[in-house]
Amino acid sequence: MSRGLNWLQALAGGQAQAGYPASVKVVDGTLGERAARYIAVVPDADNPFPRARNGEVGLLEGWALGQAVDEVIAADRDKADKRVVVAVVDVPSQAYGRREEALGIHQALAGAVDGYARARLAGHPVIALLVGKAMSGAFLAHGYQAQRIIALRDPGVMVHAMGKAAAARITLRSVEELEALAESVPPMAYDIDNYATLGLLWETLSVQDIEQPAADDLARVRDCLLKAVEDIGTSRDLRGRLGAANRKASSRVREKLRAQW
């Protein structure tokens, strides 16, 4: 059992849609009064791709995510009230392997990003709920195109571009040096509270039981999801992520580009 699956089942309550790989769970349900599609990538010990059995986002997962969101866009195309899309995020990484590179995993993950971005642009409120890891390419594909990102507070909830050991090797430092740097360089930190200072998270929630939500936890998270939908309103962009002190260069660059355009 994975956190992602537990939270998905608790929040969405229904049966997973047929026609998807076992690693991509798609459940249609509701959020308050509104229709919602809940999506999670989960471990599948029998995944045909051996390097994608522990909840990684690989070839099948990338394309299937694209399919799951594209379906929603198509089904709601002529509706005024667009379904909410909730990405329940617990993804340790993208899949690393020869088959993956050979078959174009970069393109498969682009399929997922395409779906989520277009859903947002079409007027669907898209929310990412981080219940575990949200790493690198996997998070880009599943969650990072949402208008609002909500994280649960727990050491197992982390956002980053690369695991510590690999990052240390590539930057020719020790893990201890990396951790020390992360203390004075917030974008390098692994914990969710440091991540929150970058202004990318909309809300961080504490829950009683991170692995298997208690009733109180569910109520609090649902309430937060509802508030997020309200906060999104008619917004279809990612501008809400700009403005934190630790991201001021991102705003300054945009201002100067505009002035010189």
Binding site: L60, A64, A110, L140, A249
Partner: protein, 288 residues
């Protein structure tokens, strides 16, 4: 000598390697002559706020050149990544330059100005010294490509020698069209990371022919993951770019073809490893 072979010799003598050019020269070479105007140029000194505190020397443009100009007389913006600086990795400032330029191109199109974009992708992905800000910037670049693509083709050029990896490999997959040379590689994970995570038998990061056989420009073109395969020649790349813009937006972007790809992937025998020929056979036969 016949007239046509004299022309060929003349062309050979004039041919310039695109791969050997730096980012700024590449951008200038691809825009209409004389139209290049750089935004946030190095003299503006908008540099990384994060590198100096780690003892890393910054580059005045943070490794990204953004320039406005024209392509065949139409307004265009080009973002060129300098692969020589920190492996072309995306930091907060460089990433914002690309995302911001694409966002402004979208605004132009909403106002009826048909600004199109070209991305010169020479990057290993996120700059680990800026980790989460690099990753967030890449998400915004991806968002802007998807949005701009609705109005104008967004064309990516991967020339090498760094290639295009990480989150920017995903961005390449979102482009309306991709141009690649033989020197180019396009993928998600860098060879060393795969070797570290999955072992040398799975992926030998020092086996260059093996790596290019799977992720090189020629292979990607032959497998339908790249739209144009060109010689490492500035004039040829210029011409190819203009040809693709003239086609207009593709009927269906590759990144929307989940049904097609899932069907093909269902046919893969994953009990054995895969080689380049098998991938080409799997993905070929598509009328684009």
């Amino acid at each position: 000598m016949t007239d046509s072979s004299a022309v060929n010799v003349a062309r050979l003598l004039k041919s310039r390697s695109f791969v050997e050019l730096g980012a700024r020269q590449r951008a200038r070479a691809l825009l209409d002559e004389g139209s290049f105007r750089e935004l946030l140029d190095p003299f503006d000194r908008v540099t990384s706020p994060w590198l100096p505190k780690q003892g890393i020397v910054t580059q005045a443009d943070d490794g990204v050149v953004v320039a406005k100009g024209t392509i065949n007389g139409q307004p265009a913006v080009i973002a060129a990544i300098e692969g020589a600086f920190q492996g072309g990795s995306m930091g907060e400032v460089g990433g914002a330059k690309i995302a911001g330029a694409l966002e402004l191109a979208v605004e132009d199109n909403r106002k009826g100005i048909p600004t199109r974009a070209v991305l010169l992708l020479e990057t290993g992905g996120v700059r680990l010294q800026e980790a989460n800000l690099g990753l967030a910037a890449i998400a915004e670049i991806q968002a802007a490509i998807v949005e701009l693509r609705e109005y104008q083709p967004v064309i990516g050029v991967v020339a090498g020698s760094v290639g295009c990896f990480g989150g920017m490999g995903i961005a390449a997959g979102l482009c309306s069209y991709l141009i690649a040379t033989r020197e180019a590689r396009i993928g998600l994970n860098g060879p060393q990371v795969i070797e570290q995570e999955a072992g040398i038998a799975e992926y030998d990061s020092r086996d260059r022919p093996f790596i290019w056989s799977l992720t090189g420009g020629e292979q990607r073109f032959a497998s339908g993951l790249v739209d144009a395969y060109v010689a490492d020649d500035t004039d040829a790349i210029r011409a190819q770019l203009r040809e693709l813009f003239a086609l207009g937006k593709p009927a269906q972007p590759r990144s929307r073809r989940h049904a097609w790809y899932l069907q093909r992937l269902a046919d893969v025998d994953t009990r054995t490893q895969l080689d380049a020929a098998a991938v080409r056979a799997l993905y070929e036969g598509e009328v684009r």
